[in-house]
Structure formats: structure tokens, C-alpha cells
Symmetry: C2
Subunit: 208 residues, 2 copies
């Protein structure tokens, strides 16, 4: 950002911090830095404190790997949820997306990424071990037939590979493993659907 | 942001702070908050400190209203710059844009907004008084004919009104007042230029 170094250095510094966030380019970084400077003093302090608080207080749920400010996340702590229905997702934002559908009554397991050995994302780097030990624990009290694990990774190369890897591991327990349906989105148009999506929609067709 | 309140409250709080920045919607706010949580501890602390430092140290230049971390901004403090050529701009980002053109050797005056009485932006709210006293000060030692004030407000309704208002005030001093040329941008295409731009390009035509 040095070509603009006639700006005061605290501003340059703040803009460079914004720029280190994902999806924030140079112009946006300056726009945000200027906005912070225009904040009332208290608001700027609150912003700085929110960063420190979030970093200090938020940790991973010891059960599912979702983010939490106590040992166990609110979803795992909720006694009304069905602990025998586990939805495996890539990151905590996917938890948020699925929680919006009020029909879902199960719990989650957050992998913290997808398998991608070329990028160093090997099975050991993901939150897979705890999924297996969690399933083991469940099997001590429950019948395998009553347990279902839904794999809700994205329909990408990495998401498919991760789903395949997990389903092979979990099927050994005699547990039902399912995956989200992929096909034409509601309101979508066949004419504009890409070939891969159409192929998925066709192979996943249901009797009516 | 309460519909997602199953996220831990420090995260919700941080996301709401990001959302108070201009151009940051709900999804982006969460994306940024998650990114901060993934930061190493020191990086998050540095970010928080950058906000506090920027807010504490940055003030307005007492001469031109540009942002500065000392009493006078680097542009005004530069003795090599021509103090008799003043470019009037809306905000400090415009200073940055013009500073990129190395040909410009003058100084700036930052209005801190544009005239827009309906939004409460009256002449008193802008940094206009100091422009007049600054010009007065210049006239004590300089010939009015040697001074030029370039009005570089955007070609919008508010920008035009502000330019008109300022030029009337400053012309009383017998000083030359100019405005940036507006017309077809370099690399632009006549066919796709909007009517207002074409009109400006036509009325501002030059002999060749």
C-alpha cells in the first residue's frame, strides 16, 4: 500500500489490517479505514474491544467443533435436539445456514475444512477423529440403525472426496450415511443449468 | 442480526461492528468476523490496536482539512509545493487520487463533504470558512493573479452546486477559479457515453 504513503501512517496501518481480511481489496480497505476514523471515539473503542473479546472468548465446541464461547456450543447444549442425527459440515457458517431451516432437529459436526491433500488438508488436519470417537460413544447406548449421519459438504471436487472418505469410514459402524440432494435449485431453469448439475439432478431422480 | 443468535455472542457482536462499516452487509460481516477468529492471537491484537491508534492519532490538518497524524498534513508541510495553487476536493481520498498524478505541484483544501441542504449539509458544515481565511492570508503577500483555485468536486448535482457556490465566493477576491474538465474518459467510447457526459464533452470542446 506504499504508493499512497502521503496518508498518515496510522491510517495506512489500519488500511493494511483491513486488507488482510478475505475479499477486501485496496480501495475497500481505505474506505473502511476512513469510516473508522469518522466513528465517534467510543464506537471505535467498542470495535477494537469486540475484536479482542471475540478472539479471546471464542473457542471450538469440544463435542462438534462448532464455534462457542463456552465449552460446549449452544446446539450441542440444547437438550431438545436429536443427538442421533448428526449433520457433518465444512465450517460454522454451514451450521448457520442449516439452522435457518427450522425442520432440522439434529446436531452438527464441523470438519473445519475439506479434504485436499495437495493443499496439505489431509484427514488428520480435519475434525474427523472426534467424529469417529463421538460415533463410538453413541453406539455404546444406541442401536446403529437409529443413528443417521448426513454429510452436507459442498458439491465440489473436495466436498465429494470428503463425503466419499467419510461415508466409507462410517459405514463400517453399520450406521446409515446420507448426503444432501444436489440438483436444479428451486426457481432455477433447466435451460440455464450447467451440465454437471443436470447430471446430478438426473442421477438423483425420484419416483413421483 | 438476531436470527442467527445461536452463534456465540462475542462473534455476533464482532459481526455487528463490521456491519456498521459502509458497504458491509450481513453475510460479509459474518465472513470478516470468522476471519478475525481464525487470525493468530497477535494479529487480532494488532488489528484492534490499529483501530485505537488510528482513531487517537489522526486528526485534521489545521491548514487544509486533510487527515494527518501531526498538526499539519504532509502535503501542506512540503515546502517544495506551490502554495498558490489550491485544489478543492470533497474528501481525503480525492487528495490521494490527485497525488497519484505526479504533475500536480499545488496543495489541497478538503471540504469534508458537498453542499446538500436537504441532508443538512449547509455551507457552515463544510470546511469553507477556512478556505476563505486561507485565501485572505495568501492575498496579504501574493498578487491575486498568481493564485489559482481548482475546484475538483465530482460531476454530480451536489458537486456542481458546491463548485458554483465556491466559485462565486472566491471570484470576489479577483482570484482565478477553474474546474476539472469533464467529458469522455480516455479509452471510452462515444457510442456508450451517457447523454449528460456527451453534453459536457461538447460544451467543453477545445480548439485543436
Amino acid at each position: 500500500m506504499s504508493e499512497n504513503n502521503f496518508f498518515a501512517s496510522p491510517l495506512e496501518n489500519l488500511a493494511s489490517k483491513f486488507r488482510s481480511l478475505p475479499g477486501i481489496g485496496k480501495k475497500t480497505a481505505y474506505r473502511l479505514a476512513f469510516a473508522v476514523i469518522d466513528f465517534p471515539e467510543q464506537k471505535a473503542l467498542d470495535f477494537a474491544n469486540a475484536i479482542i473479546e471475540a478472539k479471546k472468548k471464542i473457542s471450538k465446541c469440544s463435542v462438534c467443533g462448532n464455534i462457542s464461547d463456552s465449552g460446549i456450543c449452544p446446539v450441542c447444549a440444547d437438550k431438545k435436539r436429536n443427538k442421533k442425527l448428526i449433520c457433518v459440515v465444512e465450517d460454522p457458517r454451514d451450521v448457520a445456514a442449516i439452522m435457518k431451516i427450522s425442520e432440522y432437529e439434529g446436531v452438527f459436526h464441523v470438519l473445519g475444512g475439506l479434504l485436499s491433500p495437495l493443499d496439505g488438508k489431509t484427514p488428520e488436519k480435519l475434525n474427523i477423529k472426534s467424529l469417529l470417537s463421538r460415533t463410538d460413544e453413541l453406539l455404546k447406548t444406541e442401536n446403529p440403525k437409529d443413528i443417521e449421519i448426513i454429510i452436507a459438504t459442498n458439491p465440489s471436487v473436495e466436498g465429494d472426496a470428503t463425503a466419499m472418505y467419510l461415508s466409507r469410514l462410517i459405514k463400517n459402524f453399520g450406521i446409515k450415511v446420507t448426503r444432501l440432494a444436489y440438483g436444479i435449485p428451486v426457481g432455477g431453469d433447466l435451460e440455464y443449468a450447467d451440465e454437471v448439475t443436470l447430471e446430478r439432478a438426473l442421477s438423483g431422480r425420484n419416483e413421483i
